[in-house]
Symmetry: D2
């Protein structure tokens, strides 16, 4: 879609997150970037008892957090530091089935990477289960270069 040659490695994305957005690791649900290339970014939320809801399922806000983190990681992968100030403007989630009491995985694809907007879709799975537990689409606004957040 885009012709940008840039694609950060997982280590480079992780480094940017650690430096500029360490708060994402506060609270429950440690998140990590597992993969990121031109096609697919995969992020993971470790299993944590405190995320579990009645019936053994992972909470909605935890799924939101992972989807949102995955989109941010995918954008950083393509834009590098220029993507740090990108902010969520829309998130639409469809909840399909109850997650297992397990780690959560999010597969993120960039549908459009424009100069001002990025649109991504996210498939959420319980680790080790084939059925999608939630689907999300999300739009991020990308501030003009040089603009301070």
């Amino acid at each position: 879609m885009s012709k940008l040659p840039l694609q950060l490695s997982v280590a480079e994305i992780t480094h940017l997150v650690d430096q500029h957005f360490p708060q994402v690791q506060e609270g429950n649900g440690q998140v990590t970037v597992e993969r990121s290339d031109g096609q697919l970014t995969v992020v993971r939320m470790a299993y944590d008892d405190r995320l579990i809801r009645p019936g053994g399922t992972v909470s909605g806000p935890a799924m939101f957090k992972l989807a949102d983190f995955g989109v941010y990681a995918a954008i950083l992968g393509r834009l590098g530091e220029a993507g740090l100030q990108a902010v969520t403007t829309n998130m639409t989630m469809n909840f399909l089935s109850r997650p297992q009491p397990a780690a959560l995985l999010a597969n993120v694809r960039i549908l459009k990477l424009g100069r001002r907007l990025a649109v991504c879709e996210v498939y959420l799975y319980s680790e080790g289960s084939p059925d999608m537990v939630a689907h999300a689409t999300s739009t991020y606004a990308i501030p003009p270069e040089g603009m301070i957040r």
Copy 2:
């Protein structure tokens, strides 16, 4: 996802639409079912001058119509006559790039087919162009058997 063995052929879906929903062909933008199997349903809207907007692009309502028709066709393919009374409850569309002045194609995948709700996603393309012009997710409510619409 679902264990239903049913999958109507393109001819069978088309027959149901012709019998029960001929109004879909009124107005501009003739629609046809091109393919439908367990993985993917493809529908097409023929090029029509009257759908074109300034700049040579296809109108938003035409894209909505095709996406909605594609989801309905995918559900008919899996449920047969039992799906005729299904109704749209939600449609979320992200418009990514301007469609070409060409036929529109919609690739529909069923993400969940429950007893009461079906959730689908739709990729829209201009025929002959590789870039997605719009992405949609849609939820349909499936009436209980025997319920009259």
Copy 3:
């Protein structure tokens, strides 16, 4: 929200639409701007037999068209000619009840009018009926001044 003093009259908005977007009147469902002020923009789609679907209800694409037109009219009301190039980037519709076979009204409120994005919500009613038939939220991208669509 915004501090812009501008607010076009209904006649001024209608004039801009007639000049720059006459195609909106093609096909079924004549649309008009009924009211527009700092709080609320109201648009109306005249009753048209050809918009009617089985059961006497107005079609989904017609509802989409009216909601989208209403948001465009609301943005023109605030931005004047500078809003002509605004384009829909997201439309999320929830369908609540079947419209009557009557004219449709859309009440549009601007939730945010930024320099680059406008977010609106839309309540759709059948004329003469109190129940909301659909709810929509929509985002428009506002091109930078001087940019040609």
Copy 4:
């Protein structure tokens, strides 16, 4: 819209939540029901340093959590115990402006309360500030009576 006479008091809703959904208070951001009547349900998330993100703003997952809790509380208010098994099927959030480092308030209105689906909209504010920080629409599925979650 609905003809149900039931409307629980704030104390009754709070009691149901405490009994059946105490986990909502785990982690950061204590939530309370402030008001609930036929028109409007208001819920509040107390200020908590750990919810704050760079720039002094409240995190997206916290906003999601409050919106989702507010919709659940509104449904409990109308359905009582019969609503306990209701589950989120869709949440669409538009983020409009950065929340202040303050408590968050969510004003929830039920747009439709059907036998199988409830559709709500949510306005989110920072306590003490007039501008909406986010808008959400959400759909819940209401299980048939007697169905075990």
